[in-house]
């Protein structure tokens, strides 16, 4: 089986689900890596790894869909809720832009108290008042929420957002696109078809998006292959996905922690990156996340098919709520890529190259090494989970 798959991968043939499942279950780690590199260098022949200088703030933590893998959300009436006004967010974006941020990945809870106008206003004013920043706003769940609140159809919501300047949306909220699993971990978030439906409509309108996967909870190997398979099929329709981004479930402070107390390991992460690179022959990029898996595992993932190192994440609150904190800086991101043996290149949200950095060169953006984290409770780091590398203490 391995030999026939290797031949097919070398020929650029598409693997079947059965072949994908076989690889995931039987191929050794380095056989996976070898096949993944074959595809990686066919699609991205340069020994280059891209990154984006971005921030991941949240406008509200009030959310009504109660996902059991999430430690971030609060209910209306809880003591520590917040919802920022558009003014407040614009002020923060401006400050970010001053520090050299190029992209804001903005998401929030699904908060029925917020009118559709708020979201449109957020996009419109960002485009007008902070043109340095590319808005990469609103996950599929929020878009469905806007449709519910406004009474507009999803295509109409997307059309109106596009009109005010939105042209890319993040790929979060996919979790595992297998309803068997989705029902258990995020019953109120909708089905796989809902996520895929929003993405399809967005791609049809010309949006670019990413696709994510969150693994390491209740899914089985078959569910992972199912997930890869449905996003590959959708990609064939409009080629709207720029990149695929897997990350592992972080159990800290979540209801699911009781069932799944530990992180998926680094080895599993590398398998996830590699199988995706091999299977997703129509995805231009695979993103490794130093942020969710640790810097060293992130570096290693670059040899397992990933060609992008994600963002520098000036602000991030969701993993931080699960006591999972990695800090870095633009300089360190560049150093990590370089010391892994690649040429660092800054990109836009849409994966256009802004600049490559030669030896000893760094982007002009000078960020502090620590994120400006407003809501982070980074007290106990890695309390019950000894095997993942924790925050850098030095």
């Amino acid at each position: 089986m391995l030999e026939s798959i290797r031949t097919r991968v070398n020929n650029g043939d598409r693997l079947s689900r059965e072949e994908g499942r076989w690889l995931l279950q039987n191929a050794s780690l380095l056989d996976l890596a070898e096949l993944a590199e074959t595809v990686r260098y066919r699609l991205n022949p340069e020994r280059r790894v891209t990154f984006v200088i971005d921030s991941n703030p949240n406008y509200t933590n009030i959310c009504n869909i109660d996902c059991i893998f999430c430690a971030f959300y609060r209910h209306e009436g809880d003591a520590d809720t917040y919802t920022y006004t558009v003014d407040e967010m614009i002020t923060r974006f401006k400050a970010s832009a001053k520090r050299g941020i190029r992209t804001v990945l903005l998401q929030g809870g699904v908060n029925a108290a917020i009118p559709f106008e708020y979201y449109k206003e957020m996009v419109r004013r960002t485009r007008e008042e902070v043109p340095e920043i590319h808005p990469h706003f609103f996950s599929t769940s929020e878009i469905i929420g806007m449709s519910d609140v406004s009474g507009f159809s999803i295509p109409e919501v997307l059309r109106q957002l596009k009109e005010v300047g939105l042209n890319s949306i993040p790929g979060g909220g996919a979790e595992i696109l297998s309803d068997r699993v989705k029902k258990k971990i995020s019953n109120k978030k909708g089905t796989s078809a809902d996520w895929l439906g929003v993405m399809r409509e967005a791609h049809k309108l010309g949006y670019k998006t990413t696709a994510t996967m969150m693994y390491g909870h209740l899914e089985k190997d078959e569910d992972i292959i199912e997930h890869l398979s449905v996003i590959r099929d959708l990609q064939d329709e409009y080629h709207g996905f720029t990149a695929y981004i897997p990350w592992s479930f972080k159990p800290g402070n979540t209801p699911l922690e009781k069932i799944i107390p530990t992180y998926a390991t680094g080895t599993r992460y590398l398998q996830m990156i590699a199988i995706a690179r091999i299977f997703l022959d129509n995805f231009p990029h695979i993103q490794a996340s130093w942020f969710s898996e640790g810097k060293k595992i992130g570096q290693i993932a670059l040899s397992f098919g990933a060609d992008d190192f994600g963002g520098v994440l000036e602000e991030e609150n969701v993993h931080a709520s699960a006591n999972f904190v990695h800090t870095t800086s633009v300089k360190e991101t560049v150093d990590l890529i370089r010391s892994a043996g690649y040429t660092p290149a800054e990109r836009t949200t849409l994966y256009d190259i802004i600049a490559e950095y030669g030896p000893e060169e760094y982007p002009a953006a000078v960020l502090n090494s620590a994120r400006l984290s407003v809501h982070t409770d980074a007290g106990a780091i890695m309390h019950s989970l000894p095997i993942i590398q924790a925050a850098v203490l030095a």
Binding site: M1, L2, Q25, N26, A27, S28, L29, L30, A33, E34, E37, T38, Y41, R47, T265, G266, T267, R268, L270, G294, K295, K296, I297, Q299, I300, S303, F304, D335, L336, S339, A340, G341, M382, P386, I387, I388, Q389, A390, V392, L393, A394
Partner: protein, 642 residues
């Protein structure tokens, strides 16, 4: 041949190096530099993983161990260490012997002792330390004192290295840690630790230790100011020493952690790519060092896990206290319980093997649904494994000596392998026999009794028995009692680490496998005038072949796995037939055998069984049963060294 796999690489420059490696040709310094210069990390990993598999199968070893650091008071001030303090400092501590003993538990197998160079502790204190631990915890082996400490003792107490080591040996010291090696470069030494011993002294201490039966490890501290060339030179010096003494058990690359040491490195931590490359390059360069350790405390558990697929076959252990690394900001947790180690090794797709300090397997922990196949680590078994590569991920291979395989087959943790005939008989209700095995008609050259006396004069004598053996012990009994009428003799088990035995204490010694072969090729063991080939003795007596081992698979192994194992064995035997010199070349070289000798040796064996072999097995069973009926079996005692 180390591997039958012809890899293709993304980086073509690796191909000629792989050709050398898989044919057992030693790599040069230039090869080492080329490996480091390559950007094909996965290619390096595949080569190193294949080499590790040829040595250890899928096994990854760990030991239940604990570190003792009796004091942090040190007369040196090395730049890279922020553990040591001066006497009188408020952080200084000194343990009493009782405090040290209170930290140990009888279920440990190793205690790793290193300490600061204390200005005033007397020599007797160190001797007492080793002796008391060995006395109170006989199962705990003491791995103590780096070369730096030994040299310090030598100077302070005005004894030669040899004298220091001899006294520690007498107190019970059997292994030494590999610390203090840092990087064997005068340039680096002068820059970072000029008060510390240099390479010459370090090797002098270790060679002296090896020669008297103390095994040791060797480390390399990388990721500070050393160059890649200095790393390769470091490895070459280790390889050269190992050629001479064969006393190193493992090589341990240690990633430097700047912490508060004040040493300026390019990045805060070594890159993961550098960590993995260093593991892989070590495995490829150090062809004569049995094990490469992924020391998770320094490397982080996460990277260590990955390293298990890049050439490392050892995780170190459940080290309880790792003050040196911790004080410098190590990002690993303080203690990784045994269960955690096992799950990490499972995650890497490998087989956890709990070991003693000499890497003798104590227990194995296959993942659920895994079928463990034993690999007989002797030259005569190479034809079975030449192309043994079942496609199922859950079939894992572990190199096990015959006696160990027998034990694990009885426990049910190993499901297939060439079982020693006697062990097969004890589990034949749970195992199915295949028509493969190891038999010989005539001399086997690798089951030899080296004796100071003729057969009939062995009455009342003391016979050292290799602990690897299972069936051969019974064969020796049968020959002694049934053929030669010798009923009184004493069997004493030799220590499993060959280097530990002083053979001259025995009247005769039974060796098997590679050890027998090596000594036989050398013409015998000095002082032992007789050399009896037990298979030859049996064959000329019974006019039948002798069957040492029979391939068997546990009845509860799933059908698909059974089929794969059988097919894989058949493939190996078919493809190795007629190519014995080639497939056994690399292994033979380690035993000092040329192609012709390897070919002739392997030609003597019968790997497929026919009617003669079945008759031979029945005959052995009858003789053995009759011995047992007459209650003639003499128990096997243990040597003092064990």
């Amino acid at each position: 041949m180390i591997s039958s796999k012809a890899f293709t690489f993304r980086d073509n420059s690796l191909s000629p190096i792989w050709d050398k490696v898989r044919n057992g040709v030693r790599l040069t310094k230039e090869d080492g530099l080329a490996l480091y210069a390559s950007d094909d990390l996965i290619g390096l990993g595949r080569m190193a993983n294949e080499v590790a598999r040829s040595k250890s199968g899928d096994s990854v070893y760990f030991v239940l161990n604990r570190k003792l650091e009796p004091t942090n008071v040190c007369v040196l001030s090395c730049k890279f260490c922020d553990f040591a303090v001066k006497a009188g400092s408020k952080e200084a501590y000194e343990m009493t012997l009782d405090e040290m003993l209170s930290k140990l538990r009888p279920d440990l197998h190793e205690v790793h002792i290193t300490a600061g160079l204390h200005p005033s502790w007397p020599w007797e204190f160190y001797i007492d330390m080793v002796r008391e631990i060995k006395t109170q915890f006989p199962n705990v082996d003491v791995k103590a004192f780096t070369a730096v400490e030994i040299d310090y003792f030598s100077k302070k107490f005005k004894k030669s290295h040899e004298q220091v080591l001899r006294e520690l040996y007498a107190a019970g010291l059997r292994t030494m840690p590999g610390g203090g090696a840092e990087v064997f470069s005068e340039r680096v030494r002068k820059e970072l630790f000029k008060q510390k011993i240099g390479a010459k002294t370090w090797f002098d201490v270790h060679k002296t230790a090896h020669k008297m039966g103390i095994n040791s490890n060797v480390t390399m501290l990388y990721g500070h100011i050393e160059t890649i060339e200095e790393r390769i030179e470091h490895m070459l010096r280790v390889r050269e020493c190992q050629d001479e003494t064969n006393g190193f058990l493992s090589f341990i690359p240690l990633a430097f952690q700047p912490g508060n040491t004040g040493i300026k490195t390019r990045n805060d931590f070594t890159s993961a790519i550098d960590d993995l490359k260093t593991i892989a390059v070590s495995r490829l360069m150090l062809d004569n060092v049995p094990h490469i350790k992924a020391y998770w405390v320094m490397l982080t558990a996460e990277v260590a896990t990955i390293a298990l697929n890049f050439g490392a076959d050892d995780m170190d252990g459940t080290v309880g206290e790792e003050r040196i690394a911790h004080d410098a900001g190590a990002i690993s947790p303080m203690e990784l319980a045994k269960g955690k180690l096992i799950s990490i090794i499972h995650e890497a797709g490998k087989l956890p093997v709990e070991r003693d300090v000499w890497y003798n397997p104590i227990e194995i922990y296959p993942a659920k649904g895994t079928t463990v196949v034993s690999k007989m680590p002797y030259l005569n078994s190479v034809p079975f494994y030449h192309e043994f590569a079942p496609a199922l991920k859950n079939i894992e291979v572990a190199p096990l000596m015959p006696s160990v395989l027998g034990r694990f087959a009885r426990l049910g943790t190993v499901s297939a392998g060439p079982l020693s005939l006697r062990d097969f008989m004890s589990v034949s209700d749970r195992f199915d026999r295949l028509e493969y095995g190891i038999a010989v008609k005539g001399n086997a050259h690798s089951v030899l009794l080296f004796s100071k006396y003729g057969w009939s004069d062995l009455k009342g004598k003391r016979i050292g028995i290799t602990s690897e053996s299972s069936t051969s012990i019974e064969l020796l009994r049968i020959l002694l009692e049934k053929r030669h009428g010798v009923h009184e003799y004493e069997f004493v088990k030799l220590h499993p680490a060959q280097i530990q035995n002083n053979l001259s204490d025995y009247d005769a010694v039974l060796l098997i496998g590679d050890e027998a072969l090596r000594n036989g090729e050398l013409g015998g063991i000095p002082g032992f005038d007789q050399m009896y080939d037990l298979a030859g003795e049996w064959c000329s007596w019974k006019e039948l072949p002798f069957v040492f081992a029979v391939w068997a698979i546990a009845k509860d192994v799933p059908a698909e796995a059974k089929t794969q194992i059988t097919h894989s064995l058949e493939n190996s035997l078919v493809s190795s037939a007629g190519h014995y010199a080639e497939i056994g070349r690399e292994h033979g070289k380690r035993l000092g055998m040329d192609d012709a000798a390897v070919d002739a040796y392997l030609q003597t064996f019968r790997y497929r069984f026919g009617i003669d072999e079945h008759a031979a097995m029945a005959e052995f069973e009858m003789e053995w049963e009759s011995l047992k009926r007459n209650n003639r079996t003499v128990p096997v005692g243990h040597s003092i060294a064990a």
